[in-house]
Amino acid sequence: MAAKFEIQGLNAWFGSKHVLKNINIKIEEKAVTAIIGPSGCGKTTFVRCLNRMHEITPGARVSGKVLFNGIDIYSNGVDPVMVRRKIGMVFQKPNPFPMMSIYDNVAAGLKLNGVRDRKILDAAVRRSLELANLWDEVKDDLNKSGASLSGGQQQRLCIARALAVEPEVLLMDEPCSALDPIATAKIESLIRKLAEDYTVVIVTHNMQQAARVSDYTTFLYLGELIEYGPTKQIFENPKQELTERYLTGEFG
């Protein structure tokens, strides 16, 4: 397996607050990597550094290297807009575009980047919705508002929207935290399916979820990388005492 990301000495700040401290890690291609850790440990900031979303927050800063396919996405010649097209993102709360239909939500990334051909758009919408396991539920309602769907459907719509621009990586920031168990189970099985073709990085505060869906697990604590390895090893045989204490629920 090849590394999709190679992160070297990554630091991130909000103003003077140092939220990520010297992170070094490789993220494997076509696998699911889970980021776990207690609240405020920098999980979300970490994934937002991978597609340069961190810097859109006023006062936010990054240093270090994030090699994506061997190229540092923070080097001078790299356009953050192009980075984000290759590295899609799904957020904690489903955020479909209001005032847009289901179809337009999925097609938005392509349309706004200049794709006009109806045939290409139709095909992309269908392919993305099928990939997101949503097609059968919405195929007759493509002109309805995205906001008319249930929370779980909205989240799958957001996944379809991210997939429509054909990224190589999907970053998911606690995608199930606003969903019920049934919707969560659907998203989890979807994540396993997506890992066949995409590199998935998922932030979760739910350790069982990390154990269920991920191939690799990263444990962050207070902005530092404590342990990283195959999920099985991290959960069954953690090398660090801190990881074990977190996994056994001693703190959270």
């Binding site: 807009v81 290759k86 899609g88 575009f97 005032m99 847009m100 706004l112 008319s148 929207r161």
Partner: protein, 276 residues
């Protein structure tokens, strides 16, 4: 039991006070409307809508030229004021953390606080004195009144669009400027259009700056360097005239002005109706 009665009595009292407040707020509005409709309606006939202002001693006449002039004036003012106001509003909302935005926001507040007659004098000094009393000068003055209203309502409307929507678009690899003009603006469309309408309704009834910069004109539109007739000025000038038929025209003009503003709002409401 007594406690219960007291509670009911207090509830009744508060209800009474609330209804009283509602009533006293609505009475002036309804009495203005009913008086304008009663007096204005009797002057309205076919001629009223197709004939221009009558001269002294002439019987009949209408407000057709004033409707035309008012539409041209507010149209021209919107052409200047809406784009500038809209763009300032977008700037203030999307780049609000800059020092320049603080200054711009403050200047908008100052501008919206300037009495409209002063804006009229400004337009007079800047434009009327070089090209004469003209619809251009009036439109310029009215645009100055529109800009802070449009900018402020646009800013407020855009700020209500959740950050998560912007982030969703940016994370799709859509450039920031495109995110703003497509996703963010469309999410706030309704509130922005409402703000623009409010500003149009506001300037449609302005008389002081129009009088100073353009003056009164009783003929049809004759070019951008000439004045046009104006409904608000019709009300102002005719109401003070000694002639019965002119006073009737003032009431008629007031009614048409109200209907015009109402018509603009209703039309735009229909166009911006939520599709979902």
């Amino acid at each position: 039991m007594d406690y219960h009665k007291l509670r009911v009595a207090k509830n009744r009292l508060m209800q009474f006070l609330v209804y009283l407040a509602l009533f006293s707020a609505i009475v002036p509005l309804l009495s203005i409307l009913s008086e304008v409709i009663r007096r204005g309606f009797s002057t309205i006939n076919f001629d009223f809508f197709i004939k221009p202002t009558p001269t002294v001693g002439e019987v009949g006449g209408g407000v057709a030229n004033a409707v035309q002039g008012t539409l041209i004036t507010i149209g021209l003012a919107s052409l200047i004021g809406v784009p500038i106001g809209l763009m300032s509003g977008i700037f203030l909302s999307e780049y609000g953390e800059l020092k320049l935005s603080v200054a711009v926001r403050f200047l908008h507040d100052v501008l919206s606080g300037i009495p409209s007659i002063v804006i009229g004098v400004f337009a007079y000094a800047l434009i009327t004195r070089s090209i004469g009393f003209s619809v251009t000068a009036a439109a310029f003055a009215l645009a100055m009144i529109m800009i802070p209203i449009v900018a402020r309502t646009t800013e407020e409307a855009l700020k209500l669009v959740p950050m998560s929507i912007r982030e969703a678009a940016i994370a799709l690899g859509i450039p920031r400027w495109k995110t703003t003009i497509t996703v963010v603006l469309s999410a706030a469309k309704k509130a922005i259009v409402t703000g623009i309408l409010l500003s149009i309704a506001r300037i449609a009834g302005e008389s002081a700056p129009v009088l100073v910069s353009m003056g009164f004109w009783r003929w049809w539109f004759a070019g951008l360097d000439r004045p046009t007739a104006n409904l608000a000025l019709n009300v102002f000038i005719f109401a003070m005239s000694p002639f019965e038929n002119w006073i009737a025209l003032a009431w008629g003009s007031a009614l048409v002005l109200i209907l015009l503003v109402l018509g603009i709002s209703v039309t735009a409401r229909v166009f911006t109706r939520e599709r979902y």
